[in-house]
């Protein structure tokens, strides 16, 4: 630990460390519907970098990050996995959607440390053995994209819908995609593509 860091920690006092630790736990609780928030047994880490291991697309990655780093930024800035996009950074657009243990998550709203021990799937990992996921295939065939910046998130949301609804109605698809914004206006074809993928699956 450098002298400057020590001094900073002293100035900030313990409250900063406690705040970060509690914040991490609270965010995890929010993302997964409670249970962990407020637990007295959360191990204390940070505020400076600590090693974590993330399982992304079936591969373990060990990296050193500050506890406040979001899952999105851990993926993008530390692992160079840039399929998930930082668009609104406030959980309002779905551009950063990934699957965590099979659950669709806005990765900008989850701390990377809360994803430790879970299986993370990004658009890069949705294709299996060089074959595109049916949703990805349908997006290509129906031209369900233009600039493509919302596409990785849309594809993840589409895959999430099909993982729970083998034959979703158009209304259900629209409702389920309501957390994802597309500025080019490809929604119509995105919904068609999800429906098409369901038929193929």
């Amino acid at each position: 630990m450098s002298k400057r860091h020590k001094k900073r920690d002293r100035e900030a006092g313990l409250s900063r460390r406690e705040f970060l630790t509690a914040g991490a736990a609270a965010a995890g609780g929010l993302a997964f519907g409670g249970g962990r928030a407020g637990s007295p047994k959360v191990p204390s880490v940070g505020p400076r970098k600590a090693p974590v291991t993330l399982n992304v697309n079936g591969k373990e990655h060990t990296l050193e990050i500050e506890p406040r780093v979001t899952l999105l930024r851990a993926l993008r800035n530390h692992l160079d996995i840039t399929g998930p996009k930082q668009v609104c950074d406030r959980g309002a657009c779905g551009g950063c959607n990934v699957l965590v243990d099979g659950l669709l998550v806005n990765s900008c709203m989850m701390l990377a440390m809360d994803a430790v021990g879970r299986k993370i799937v990004t658009p890069e990992g949705l294709a299996r053995n060089g074959k595109l996921h049916p949703v990805q295939e349908a997006f290509c065939a129906r031209d369900a994209l233009q600039c493509g910046f919302c596409t990785p998130g849309m594809v993840m949301a589409g895959a999430w819908i099909l993982s729970r609804h083998p034959d979703p109605s158009p209304e259900l698809i629209k409702r389920e995609l309501s957390g994802n914004l597309c500025r080019c206006g490809a929604y119509g074809r995105i919904c068609e593509a999800v429906k098409m993928a369901a038929r193929k699956k």
Partner: protein, 725 residues
């Protein structure tokens, strides 16, 4: 140069014209040319890269030793920096450099105005440092609306300059409009208002800058004008343009807002220079809303006269709008219809808000909202069906054909309420329509005077690579070029690879005014035409020799051919037409409008790839719905702070807001260039808001003349407030 005869027009309306084409060019694809690839559904070449997240946008570029820069934006408008202290920020861990845009004593005109940028090792450190900058602000009195800025007592946004500026070029006085209106059988008056809409590109503006060992500069930029960015960057870095390379392989939307290097680009260059590291500077969502561009608002006062037999006698239009600290708040009307007498005045009004930028058909969605609603109001005044009224006041056969097609597809005759409003139940249904136009024929050179060109490289293994510098902001340029080259060479589009988005490639066009496709497409066809000739000469293509076999006989590694864009030939139509028909449901108890269906007929010369052509139409309509019903930048009146600079409270249409959209790609052989192509990106977003407003009137019998048409405005109109007829 040689004269040739070519068949132009559209189905059921084809005629022969004579055009003069350069000797080395193929004849334009006309109304009767048999085509195998052109006009079919061809999936986007880069689609698999985009669906797997492997397409690299500027925001995704990660270089060894790269720093992240963040900008400190002014949180207020009409303020001044009393004191600026960066010492604490600069002492923070990871901080490598600061560049100051505005120091002590400088005015901050609007929320988002750039104060400084800081580069640090990580994104979090850069954010911490920006948050640790101490600024003391001195507050002035902001003006945030057109009405407030127009008051005699209003403070000036720019010292010593009037807030209200006339756009003198837009002034029109044709014949005697006052007399024509006064003498007409019916006089109609109405005022229409439109809001400020932000571009809200999903990929924020951003630049990565890297100085190379040889002193040259490489930029990755989220831009729609690579060569403009190169020119700006060369000036900023004091380098000759040849020493600057700009790359934009994929761009996450632009819509008119990404033409310049921008403060983020200046920050990246300055901080890269200062620190010796590559620097990435990408705007936050708040920065994007407040500084990343917007469509100016408008207040449009219309007065017009109609004769007894349903002909427009004359019109008078006065418009005011604000583009914040930028001008250019124009309204593109009157247009489309025949106006025998016209008076037009246009004023841009400065306010303490971020600068407007070109936004998909600048001035047109605003102007056509007023124009096409006013046309409906004129028709109603003389008791005519709005479609019939339009026909009486326009003699362009293309519009007539498209109107008839759209009317038939929506069921205009059978399903439109002949008496507006009424019917039982709280949910009222109605139909409306509006027209559009655009002007883009493509050009042969850019605004720097450089001629557009496409290079094609055919290698001995039969591979074909098409090369052009233009960026693709989402329209599908790669696929379009592949279709054109495949058609000419007798190959399939997926056999063609396309390299774009790099200033090291042959000259490309800026993505503005819908010009890239019609400018670059014809150059690609020229290149393919010459390549085919060459392969035939040197390798005996044809006569039973396939492309692959012929390519094997190429001497050396590859054949390289460059095709240039020639000036346009003359044409069948110098503009594109188009129209949209809309069905809405309006709940008169809640005031909520739901768009149920949109039929969008759009021409843009020859349809090259039908799939992406339709995507452009659907995208334009969707943005139009969002503009009509939801989007609205809201400023706090006391501090000029945008209160909805995020995606939580700045509402953009989502999947559930979008109805069935039926895109109809209306093929027109135009002979304007060798592909017969016209620009498409802009026209489909122009008429949507007006068509929805006209449908709302047809549903509930009262007019909503203000965008966005939110429930409060619908209920106010129903209660007999503004807009009651």
């Amino acid at each position: 140069m040689g004269k040739i005869k070519t068949k132009v027009g559209f189905r059921g309306n084809v005629k022969e014209i004579e055009v003069t084409i350069p000797d080395h060019e193929p004849a334009p694809w006309d109304a009767e040319t048999p085509l195998k690839v052109v006009g079919t559904d061809v999936p986007r070449l880069e689609a698999s890269l985009k669906v797997t997240g492997r397409a690299k946008y500027t925001a995704d570029i990660h270089l060894h030793g790269m720093l992240i820069a963040k900008i400190l934006h002014a949180p207020y408008g009409a303020a001044r920096i009393k004191k600026l202290d960066v010492s604490a920020a600069e002492a923070m861990p990871g901080v490598r450099g600061t560049t100051v845009f505005k120091g002590e004593g400088r005015p901050l005109l609007y929320h988002g105005d750039e104060i400084l940028a800081i580069a640090a090792d990580t994104e979090e450190q850069a954010e911490d440092a920006v948050a640790a900058v101490k600024v003391d602000y001195e507050f002035g009195t902001p003006v945030t609306t057109v009405e407030a800025a127009m008051k005699a007592s209003a403070p000036s946004v720019f010292e010593g300059k009037e807030n209200v500026q006339e756009n003198k070029k837009a002034r029109i006085r044709q014949n005697d409009p006052e007399k024509a209106i006064q003498e007409a059988a019916k006089i109609i008056e109405a005022t229409y208002e439109t809001q400020v809409q932000t571009h809200s590109c999903l990929e924020p503006h951003g630049v990565v800058a890297r100085f190379n060992e040889d002193g040259s500069l490489t930029l990755w930029a989220s831009t729609q004008a690579l060569f403009q960015v190169r020119s700006d960057a060369a000036a900023q870095a004091k380098l000759p343009q040849q020493k600057v390379r700009v790359i934009a392989e994929h761009v996450g939307g632009g819509f008119g807002s990404k033409f310049a290097l921008g403060p983020f680009g200046i920050a990246a260059i300055e901080l890269a220079k200062k620190t010796g590291h590559p620097v990435k500077c990408v705007l936050t969502r708040e920065g994007e809303h407040t500084t990343g561009g917007n469509r100016p608002s408008s207040i449009q006062k219309m007065r017009g006269g109609v004769t007894r037999d349903g002909k427009i006698a004359g019109v008078s239009v006065t418009t005011h709008g604000t583009g914040g600290v930028a001008g250019g708040a124009g309204c593109a009307n009157p247009a489309v219809y025949h106006f025998p007498a016209v008076h037009k005045e246009e004023y841009s009004v400065y306010t303490h808000a971020g600068p407007a930028m070109a936004f998909r058909a600048p001035g047109h969605p605003q102007g056509f909202f007023a124009l096409e609603c006013f046309i409906d109001e004129m028709a109603e005044a003389v008791g005519l069906d709005p479609l019939e009224f339009r026909k009486r006041n326009c003699d362009n056969e293309l519009y007539h054909a498209e109107w008839d097609l759209g009317a038939q597809k929506i069921g205009w005759k059978e399903r439109r309420n002949t008496v507006a409003g009424g019917g039982p139940g709280a949910v009222k249904r109605g139909l409306g329509m509006a027209s559009t136009l655009w002007y883009q024929k493509g050009g042969w050179k850019d605004w720097f005077g450089q001629r557009y060109a496409v290079e094609i490289v055919a290698t001995r293994d039969g591979a074909v690579e098409v090369r052009n510098a233009s960026q693709d902001i989402g329209t599908g340029l790669r696929t379009l070029l592949a279709c054109i080259v495949a058609e000419e060479l007798g190959l399939r589009p997926e056999e063609i690879s396309v390299k774009i988005g790099d200033t090291d490639l042959p000259r490309g066009a800026p993505s503005g005014g819908s010009q890239v496709s019609p400018s670059i497409g014809p150059a690609a066809r020229n290149a393919a035409f010459q390549l085919k000739k060459k392969v035939r000469e040197v390798a005996g293509l044809g006569d039973g020799v396939t492309w692959k076999e012929a390519c094997r006989r190429i001497e050396g590694e590859a054949l390289r051919v460059t095709g240039e864009r020639s000036p346009n030939y003359g044409e069948y139509k110098d503009k594109v037409a188009g129209c949209q028909f809309v069905e809405v449901e309006v709940n008169v108890e809640t005031g909520r409008i739901r768009v149920k269906k949109v039929v969008a007929v759009q021409d843009a010369g020859k349809v090259i790839d039908k799939l992406t052509f339709e995507s452009q139409i659907v995208g334009g309509v969707t943005q139009g719905i969002s503009y009509a019903l939801f989007e609205n930048r809201i400023l706090d009146r006391r501090r000029a702070t945008q209160v909805n600079a995020d995606f939580i409270s700045y509402k953009i249409a989502g999947a559930a807001d979008v109805p069935e959209i039926v895109p109809i790609a209306f093929d027109v052989a135009n002979a304007v260039n060798n592909c017969g192509m016209m620009g498409l990106g802009e026209p489909p977003t122009i008429p949507t808001a007006a068509a929805i407003a006209n449908a709302v009137h047809n549903a509930i019998g009262v007019r909503v003349r203000s965008l966005p048409m939110t429930p409060d405005k619908v209920l106010t109109a129903l209660a007999g407030g503004e807009g009651r007829k």
